[in-house]
Symmetry: D2
Subunit: 338 residues, 4 copies
C-alpha cells in the first residue's frame, strides 16, 4: 500500500498521516521523491481504513502495490535509489567499482591493493575480516584485526570500506568499522541477520543466494527495508546450474530484470561467478553493458599466494586493464565512471 | 586423521592419547565402536607428530582420512550412528517417523495431531515455533508460546519433540524445550548457528540446503561435529531444479550416496519436497525403499485452515495410510518400524 | 476434445461419428475403454461443430480437454494403457523388467545375458545396435549386425527385444527387427522421428529428455499418438541438475505425477540415472515403491570389459539380487512381477 | 592429432602426407593458417605411425590434441575461423547481426523486415520455414513456400538467408535455398542431422542445447567438422535453470569460454534466451561486450500478430535502437560492425 502526498504537502501533514497509519497498527515508511513524498505502508492490510486516509489533508491517492515485495519495488518508488557513503555513490547514473582482496590478510597487502585500486578509479575497498567457509577447517578470517586493517586503509586512502558480517553476534562490531556491511550469498535468507541489518545505520550490500529466485532476492531486501534501513545495494554473483566450467553461472538477465522491478542499485560480482581470473574482465564488461550500476571485484597483488580464492583474483595490472575497458563500455551506454 | 586403539585399550590409555593430541594443538574426538575406540583428530595437520602417537601404549594405527569431511565420514566410523532421544531411536535398523504440523498453531491442534500420529506409530512430534519465512510479512510463528505447547504435548503423549532454531539468539531457548533441534535448509551454511549447535547437548536435525552438494552438506554436519556434538541427523528435503511441477525435486539418489559416505542417520522430508499432499505418500515409500532411516512428515487435521504450508500437509487418515504403506516397504527390505 | 459414446453404441455409430469428424477437417482417435468407447479429436478446434456431433445417435457428451496434451491425458482415457508385446505386458497391475547390455556387442554376450535375465524374471531384452554417442569418435554400435544378434536371442529365449532407433533413416530397419522401438533422451524433441514412430506399428519406448519438463515429455508422446500409434511407454531416466555425484538426478516425483496425468505406462531407467552400478538397486527399489510400472536396467557379464557404459551395468549376480528385492517391494505395494 | 607443415611446404607434400594418413585408415583434415598449413587427423589413433609421418618432407611436427574435441579446438587451429557467405562474414574482427522473423509468415512481412534490418546494418536475414514446435498442434511453418519467400527476399535485398533444417529428410531442400543452415537447440545431439550437415556445402549455424555442457556443444560441432564441413558457427541461446523470470538463462560466461577453447565464430541469440522483448537489448549489449562475434535476433513489424514467439520479437524501431547501441559497444571494445 502506498500513500501519495501532494507536491506541496507539509511536513506536518505527512507526520499526521504517519500517525494515523501507526494508530491502525501498521508501519509507515516515508519515501522522499524528487517531486513529492510518498508513504509506504507495511503490516496487516485488513486493518487499513482507506477512506479515513484518503480524506486527510495533503493526500492525493492510495495505491495498492501488486508485488509481494513492497518497499523494494519500483511501484512504490519510481526513482533510482542512490546510496551515498562518505561521498562515494552507488546507484544513479555513474558506475561504481568496489575492489580488494577476498580476505583481509595483512596491512601491507591491503594498503598495496587499496592504493592501486584507488589510482585505477575504484571508489571503495572490499575485504573479508570474517569469512564464511564451507569447511570448518579452512581459514576463517582475521576477525577484528582484519577490521582494524580496513580502518587503517580507509584512513590512509580515503576509500570507504565494505566488509561482510557473517552473523548477528559480530554484526555490531563489523558495522562499527565498515562503511557498508555485506551480507553474503549463504546468508541471503538468514532472516535474523537481515532484520539486524535493517536496524543498522550503515548501508547493506546484499548478495543473491546461489539458487534464489528474483522474488526471493527482493523479499530478502524487503526484510532489511521493512525494519527501516532503506540503503540496500543488490549484488548478482552467479547462480548454481548444471554448467561445470565456471564456478557459478552469472545470471546476466537478472540485471535488466532487477532494474525494472526495483529502485535499488544493482551491482555484479564477476569474480565469484567466474571462479577464475581469465573470465573476470569479459563478465565485468557484460555486466556494465547489461545495465549494472557497478562491480565488486577481487584483486590481489600475488593471487597465487592468496589465503582465499586466489584463482579468481585479478592481478593489479589486469584490474587496471579492466577499469579501462569498462569505462569505455560505460561511455558507450551513456554513463560514466563514478 | 584417525587413531585406532587396541580392542582392550584402557580408558587411561585413551585419555593419555587425547592429552598428547591436545598438547600438539589439535582436537581429539573419541569415537566409540562396537569393538574398540577410535580417536578422530581435527585441526592443523602439519602439527601432528605421528611417530610419537603410534608409539603410545594402546595405539594400533594412525589412518589418514581422504575426504574433506572427517568426523562425518564412514572412513572414521564404519558403524551407523544411532541417535537416542528419550528412548526414541533414529538410525540403525529401525525406521523412525517424525510427524506434526508445519507451524505450531494451538495446543488443541498440536494435541490432536500428537495423539493421532502416536497411535499411527510415529515416534516423535514436529512443529515450528519459530518459522523462517520468505516474506517479512508472513506469519513468523508463535515463538516461546509455541515451544510451551510442544512441551505440554510431550508431557501428555510421551513423544519427544523436534523444532527449529532459526538463529543463534533463540537457539538456547529452543534447545531448552526441544529434544532435537532442527536447522533448516536456509540455514545449512549459517556457520555461527552450526557452531552453536555443535556446542549444544541436544541432537541436531540438519536439513540439506536447496542447492547444496553432498560434500557441502557433509561439511555443514562437520561444523557441528567438530565442536563436539556427534548426534547429528541428516535430512534430504528436495533440491531446486528446472522442474516446475513439484516444489522441489526430491534427490532420491542422495540417500544411497549419503549412507555410503557417512555413518550419520539419513531421513527424508517428503512434504517439503512435494509441496502438495497428493505426492507425499509415493515419495515416502520411495525414500524408505531407497534406504532412508526415517521420515519427517507434515500432518494437519484441517490442512485447508493451516497457517503455513497447508497444501503439503497430510490429513490424519492419509497419514495413517502412509504409515501402513511404509511399514510394508520397511519389511520388504528387511527392516521394521521403530 | 473428447466424444463419449453410449455404452451400447454400435460400431456403425462410432464409424459415423468418426466420418463426421473427418469431414470437419479434424482427426478422430477411437479410444476403447472397459465400458464404452470414446473418440479423441485433434486438429483446429475452431472447425468443430459441437451441436452436430452431440445430436448424433450413440453420442453421450462432448468434453473439452483442458491440457495441451490430449491423447496422452487421463482426462481423455481414465484407464491405464497396457502395452502387449508378444504376450509380455507393460502397464497395468504387474511390474515389468527389461534388461540387457547397453550396446549389443556379440551374440555370445547377448545370449549369456538374455538367458540370465530371463531366469531372473525379466520379460524383455534390451540392447543398442545404433548408439547415439556424444563424441563422433566413440563406438557407434554394430548397426544391422546388432539387430540380427537381438533377433537370434529372441528366437532362442522367447524374450521380445527393445532397441533404439536414432534417426528416421534407420527407423524402418530397427522397427523390422525390434518388438519395441526406443527413442532416446537426446531425441525426445526430434519431431520427425516422433512422427515416424507415430506411423509405425511397433510400440514405442520414449525416454524423457535430460531437461524436459513433464509437459514437454507428454507433448512428445502426443506427437507419436497424434499420428495413430497409441502404444507408448514413458521412461524417466534422470534429469540434469547441479548435483555432481550421480550422472543425472533421478526425478522420482515424476512417477506419481505422470501416473496422475497420463494413462500411459511409466517405467524407470535407474542405470543411466545413477551412472554407476552401486546406486542402481536402491534406485530400482525406490522407483517401484513410487509407483513405476517397470524398469529398464543395464546388465553385463563383465562390466569392466563393456564397450559402452560399463560403470553403470550390474553384474548378473547383482541383477538377480535386484529382482529379488524389487519383487518384495512390488508385493509390499500390492502388485506383483510380470 | 595434428601435423604441422613447414611454412614453405608444397601442395604436393601436403597431398602426400594426406595420402599416407588415409593409408593408415585415418582421416586427414587440412587446416590452412595465415602462415602455414596444418593437417588434423581423426580416427583410431592406435593406427597412427608417427615415425613415418614425422620423417616425410615438409612436416615440422606432430602434436597431440588433449581435448576430446579435435577439429573444433584452438589447439588444432589457433586462428579465428571466418565464415564467408556471399561476402557477408561471421567471425574475425567484425560484429555480424542476423535478424528476421521467428517463422516466415508471408512475402510481404519478410520483405518489410528484410529491408528494415538491412538499412539498420544487419548483414543476414533469418526466418524459419520448418519450425520445431513443442506441441504437434502448433503452427509448424510454411515449409518450401517459406524457403521460396526467403529466396525472393535475398534476391531483392542481397541479404544471405539463414533458416533451420529440422530433420535429415528436409535438410537437402533447406540447404538448396539457404545460405547458412541452422541446426536448432533441440537437435544439437541429433547425430544423423549433424553428420548430414557435415557433408553439406553450406555453412552451419549450430545452436547450443538447453542443457548442453560446453564440451557436449563442441563435440556436436565436431560431428559436423569430422565429416568435412569446417564452416560452423556456434550460437549460445540460453540454458535451462531454476530461474523462472526469463525463458532461459543466457549463459554469458560461455562466450569467453568458447572463444578460448575454439576457433569457431560464436554468436548469441538474445531473443530466445529472454523470451520477451524488453530484455533483448540489454542482453544483446552484454553479449557483444563479453566478446561475441555477432547476434541473431527476432524482429517483427507487428509482434502482437506474429504466428510464433511474438512476445520476444523486437519491433523495427527497437531493432534500430539495438543496432545503434551495440555498434557503440563494439567500438568500445575495439571492434566494429560488419
Amino acid at each position: 500500500m502506498l500513500i501519495v502526498m501532494q507536491v506541496r504537502a507539509s511536513e506536518q501533514q505527512i507526520e499526521k498521516v504517519c500517525g494515523v497509519v501507526r494508530e491502525m497498527g501498521l508501519t509507515p515508511h516515508p519515501i522522499p521523491g524528487s517531486m513529492r513524498m510518498a508513504i509506504g505502508i507495511t503490516g496487516n492490510k485488513s486493518r487499513i481504513d482507506e477512506g479515513r486516509i484518503i480524506s486527510m489533508p495533503g493526500v492525493v491517492e492510495v495505491i495498492h502495490v501488486t508485488q509481494d515485495y513492497k518497499l523494494t519495488s519500483r511501484e512504490m518508488k519510481p526513482e533510482d535509489t542512490v546510496v551515498d557513503v562518505l561521498g562515494a555513490k552507488i546507484g544513479g547514473e555513474k558506475i561504481a567499482v568496489i575492489a580488494g582482496t577476498c580476505a583481509v590478510e595483512s596491512l601491507d597487502i591491503t594498503m598495496k591493493v587499496a592504493e592501486a585500486i584507488r589510482s585505477a578509479g575504484s571508489i571503495m575497498l572490499r575485504g573479508g575480516a570474517y569469512k564464511p567457509r564451507t569447511s570448518p577447517y579452512s581459514f576463517q578470517g582475521l576477525g577484528e584485526e582484519g577490521l582494524k586493517i580496513l580502518a587503517s586503509a580507509r584512513e590512509k586512502t580515503g576509500l570507504p570500506v565494505v566488509t561482510e558480517a557473517v552473523d548477528t553476534d559480530t554484526f555490531d562490531i563489523v558495522a562499527e568499522y565498515a562503511d557498508i556491511v555485506q551480507i553474503g550469498a549463504r546468508n541471503m535468507q538468514n532472516y535474523s541477520l537481515l532484520k539486524k541489518a535493517g536496524r543498522a545505520r550503515k548501508p547493506i550490500l546484499l548478495k543473491r543466494g546461489i539458487s534464489a529466485t528474483i522474488k526471493e532476492f527482493l523479499l530478502a531486501a524487503e526484510y532489511i527495508m521493512s525494519e527501516g534501513n532503506y540503503n540496500v545495494i543488490l549484488c548478482e554473483r552467479g547462480v548454481r546450474t548444471f554448467s561445470d566450467y565456471s564456478r557459478y553461472t552469472l545470471d546476466i538477465s537478472s540485471i535488466p530484470e532487477l532494474k525494472m522491478l526495483t529502485h535499488l542499485p544493482v551491482i555484479v560480482d564477476p569474480s565469484h561467478a567466474a571462479g577464475r581470473w581469465g573470465m573476470v574482465i569479459p563478465l565485468a564488461r557484460a555486466a556494465i553493458a547489461a545495465g549494472a550500476d557497478g562491480l565488486i571485484v577481487e584483486v590481489h597483488p600475488e593471487p597465487e599466494k592468496a589465503l582465499s580464492d586466489g584463482a579468481q583474483s585479478l592481478k593489479i595490472k589486469m584490474f587496471e586493464q579492466m577499469m579501462k575497458e569498462i569505462s569505455l563500455i560505460a561511455r558507450a551506454i551513456g554513463r560514466e565512471m563514478a
